[in-house]
């Protein structure tokens, strides 16, 4: 890495250069910032905090499942643990993580802008997010909620005596944060692109976030209103979902999953975008079939609004609706496969470098494919009756959420870490951590596929003794996975202080974000760049003319 040389050269320059991290100091300069890069850090700290809380809940669950009778907690507590795990991971970690951390930091940098379109609104989104998160923590502290993250009626509206209202309000509030973020991103991508940055020169990460933002705006209002209706029914006994009051419990499932399935794509689409960036950068090739990869994000976003009933095959839903939802779900496989095949075609004859971000990307492709294909099992109405609410479902969506979304987030975090901090992380440790995460992940969730097929239902604190071996295997894998997550937490923090200086473009990658200094100046670019080339123009002259690279 030529550290000695670069330090000798950079010391005088690096020390005195003003950038977004050292331009201002003090808590106020962070909590009142409108700089998209600093807001990204606010989100990074808060979502990481929620990841730890959600992870702790999962730890207790896995510990409990070591013994068939439940090794640790009462069944009622177990119900609260999985509700806390699901709600926090989905609403307060996975949904915001990639868009608000990497997206906030990178959208203006990638399109050659000085900030997002509405910087104050951006900060407001974070405060709303924090309010929502605090509301949920308050719910957890005051006794928790035991409905599962899906809040199904009539359990949530009538039968449970846990704290449904504060949990529902937390989800309600968090929706507005996402709506504002989505709005901000869409306007930014439309209006703030640098001269020459045409739509088909945009990095695929931007296309993916654009599609995600549309889902934010279309799906989040529906969950907000559904949670509001739930609260109204619980407090005022207005008949909406409770049959005793003239309501329909399946209506709740319709409303919830109209949001809920697109939500899955809110979680995975940004990571799909990250993977496109990583594959291009570490195989030194333009992404094969750029247009197809870009439009497949929109195809996924659109179809995601037509598949929600695949969560309701055993709810008493009409069999004709079931047929429709099953067919539509099969159709999502097409744009998803378009992405996977195009990534593999990009790797073909590329000069592949196996740095840590690329290890995450390659891991992602395999795990996402397993997650996607097992989704087709569940989309088949007949098979789903057998597999519904078993550990097969749990394994399936964790392959998408953890094996997909989090792997993409980790890969992106490592890839852009030098840009965000100006420091390099220790590459060998990062490779080891990526490997540990991959192994730990498969050990945790692989056995759950078998448990599901053998008939172990999800969301139970106890189980028949014959399932113990695979459960212990899963818990052991989870502890390896935890080590895998702990390592990056340590070495990334270490690198902020002790890592070698990264320089503007440590990966030799294309893209406007790599043409400016690391960490970037307060307004990203000293001179607004003029774009003259396609995205990922590897093997050509530099992508940008007229930008002052550091």
């Amino acid at each position: 890495m030529g550290t000695g040389n670069s330090i000798a050269l950079s010391k005088p320059g690096e020390e005195y250069r003003v950038h977004y991290l050292n331009a201002k100091y003090g808590i106020k300069s962070w909590l009142l910032t409108t700089d998209h890069k600093r807001i990204a850090w606010l989100y990074f700290i808060s979502t990481s905090f929620f990841f730890v809380i959600g992870g702790l809940a999962a730890t207790f669950m896995r510990l409990n499942l070591v013994s068939p009778q439940g090794a640790l907690v009462q069944p009622a507590t177990y119900n609260k643990l999985f509700t806390m795990h699901g709600t926090i991971m989905i609403f307060f970690f996975l949904a915001p993580a990639v868009p608000t951390v990497l997206g906030n930091f990178l959208i203006p940098m990638m399109i050659g802008a000085r900030d997002v379109a509405f910087p104050k609104l951006n900060l407001l989104s974070w405060y709303i997010f924090i309010t929502a998160g605090a509301t949920f923590l308050w719910c957890a502290i005051s006794g928790g909620v035991a409905t599962g993250w899906t809040f199904y009626t009539p359990l949530s509206s009538t039968y449970t005596n846990t704290h449904v209202i504060s949990a529902a309000m937390a989800v309600f509030i968090s929706g507005f944060s996402s709506i504002l973020t989505g709005l901000n991103f869409i306007v930014t991508i439309h209006k703030m692109r640098a001269p020459g940055m045409t739509w088909f020169r945009l990095p695929l990460f931007i296309w993916a976030l654009y599609a995600t933002s549309i889902i934010f705006i279309l799906a989040m209002p529906v969950i907000a209103i559904t949670m509001a209706l739930l609260v109204v029914e619980r407090i005022f006994h207005v008949g909406i979902f409770d049959p005793a009051l003239g309501g329909d419990p399946v209506l709740f499932q319709h409303l919830f999953w109209f949001f809920g399935h697109p939500e899955v794509y809110i979680l995975i689409l940004p990571s799909l975008g990250v993977i496109s960036e990583l594959i291009a950068a570490f195989s030194r090739r333009r992404v094969f079939g750029y247009e197809f990869v870009a439009f497949s994000s929109f195809a996924i976003a659109f179809i995601s609004f037509l598949v929600w009933g695949h969560h309701m095959f055993v709810s008493g839903q009409s069999i004709y609706a079931g047929i429709f939802f099953s067919a539509m779900t099969m159709a999502v496989a097409i744009p998803s496969a378009v992405k996977v095949f195009n990534w593999i075609a990009t790797l073909y004859k590329g000069s592949v470098a196996l740095d840590a971000p690329m290890l995450y990307a390659l891991g992602f492709i395999g795990l996402f494919t397993i997650g996607g294909l097992t989704g087709l099992y569940l989309a088949s109405t007949g098979l789903d009756i057998f597999l519904h609410d078993t550990y097969f479902v749990v394994a399936h969506f964790h392959y998408i959420m953890v094996g997909g979304a989090i792997m993409g987030y980790m890969g992106g975090l490592h890839y852009w870490w030098p840009k965000m901090t100006g420091k390099r992380y220790p590459e060998h440790w990062a490779r080891v951590a990526a490997l540990i995460i991959f192994i730990g992940f498969n050990l945790t969730f692989g056995p759950q596929f078998i448990l599901g097929v053998e008939g172990m239902p999800r969301r139970y604190a106890t189980y028949p003794p014959k399932f113990q071996f695979l459960n212990i295997m899963s818990s052991a894998g989870a502890s390896i996975l935890a080590v895998g997550y702990l390592l990056p937490a340590i070495y990334l923090l270490w690198s902020i202080k002790y890592g070698p200086a990264a320089g503007p473009n440590p990966w030799g990658a294309k893209g406007l974000e790599w043409t400016t200094a690391s960490p970037p100046p307060v307004h990203n670019f000293d001179v607004i760049p003029i774009v003259t080339e396609e995205a990922y123009a590897y093997g050509h002259e530099p992508a940008v003319v007229g930008s002052a690279a550091s």
Binding site: L251, L255, F258, F305, G309, S318, I319, A321, F324
Partner: protein, 122 residues
């Protein structure tokens, strides 16, 4: 942000502002009246499905007024904003139509007799 811009609020602009205020108050009163109407109708049994039909008609009317006036959709000419409005209505329609389609066909549990094997095997 732009509301208090003291640069040049000309006489006509001020007039338009007052006009708009009156319009908004008129719409607000209309909405209140329609709410009262909904409540009143709820006490009258119109027979069968008509209770729901009338309630929904009033609700759609209120929603339209809000969208057209309060959300300024009445004056929108920019193409991009029209696209957004149409898309929003489209996705709302998807939610309602597919949900209603489920409820409407839930009872049809058996196939029509000409689709069953016994029809062909007699």
């Amino acid at each position: 942000m732009t509301q208090e811009a003291p640069s040049s609020p000309s006489a006509t602009a001020g007039f338009a502002h007052i006009e708009r205020k009156r319009l908004y108050i008129a719409i607000w009163i209309t909405l209140l009246c329609l709410t009262a109407l909904t409540t009143a109708v709820a006490y009258v049994d119109l027979g069968g499905a008509w209770n729901t039909v009338v309630a929904l008609l009033i609700a759609v009317g209120k929603a339209s007024i809000v969208v057209l006036f309060f959300m300024h959709v009445r004056h929108v000419i920019e193409r991009m904003i029209r696209v957004v409005i149409v898309a929003a209505i489209f996705f709302l329609a998807l939610l309602i139509i597919i949900t209603v389609a489920d409820i409407a066909t839930r009872g049809m549990l058996s196939s029509p007799h000409w689709l069953t094997p016994s029809f062909f095997l007699w």
